[in-house]
């Protein structure tokens, strides 16, 4: 089992892919290490949200992803 990290919108370009599988469990510090410096810099900005297991985290730094969880990195949206 592992944790899946999903890159949405422009973050997928920066990551050169839509998904990354890493060994779990994974906390915020572990996530920053797993995604590399460019993505880590982006997702630390307030405007980027993080979801885990289908729920957006109120405080992304409290991330505690377990094996089998999906983490989504959500940059500013533009719908409509």
């Amino acid at each position: 089992m592992s944790v899946t990290i999903v890159f949405l919108g422009p973050l997928a370009d920066l990551a050169n892919g839509h998904e990354l599988e890493v060994a779990g469990p994974l906390d915020w510090a572990g996530l920053l290490r797993a995604v590399g410096p460019d993505i880590a810099r982006e997702i630390q900005a307030d405007r980027v949200n993080v979801a885990c297991g289908g729920s957006v985290l109120a405080d992304k730094k409290s991330l505690q992803a377990r094996d089998g969880d999906e983490i989504a990195l959500l940059p500013p949206v533009s719908g409509g």
Partner: protein, 167 residues
Amino acid sequence: MKLLCCRRLAVARLTLSTPLDVRVLAKGMSVGEASAAFSAAYPEAGGIVSFLGKVRPGNDVRALELTHYEPLTKSGMDDLARSALERFALDGILAWHRIGVMVPGDAIVLVAAAAPHRRNAFDAADFVMDHLKSAAWFWKRERRAEGWHWIEPREADYQDRQRWERR
């Protein structure tokens, strides 16, 4: 008589759920059919307002692609539609949003609100659109001659949404 029969058939081909009909559509959007079915679904409504958002031609835009995050998109749109229903005392609301690749002129989003009186229907459609623009889980990019460009929300989009927080 024949015409009446056909009109009924056209409406019956599309069944809407009431009072909320929220969809994320991977292809096509039957705007006319949806509007007819929506009107038929709320015979008691005194007013229906609908908004249709389309891919704008110009700026060398060849195509527009909408992506989303499936685990959040539909449930977020359901919550938005439900809050509009309660806030504006609507009879019903429809919110359809496209994903995938579209070309100029294609429909991206359709919102319709049915209410006893027009003002609530106007406000509800406005409210839902302001939230779909900058608070729903969609990302938009345009293909121009030299390649793809991500579209960032404009400051005006955030301000439009914030109007509803002050009320």
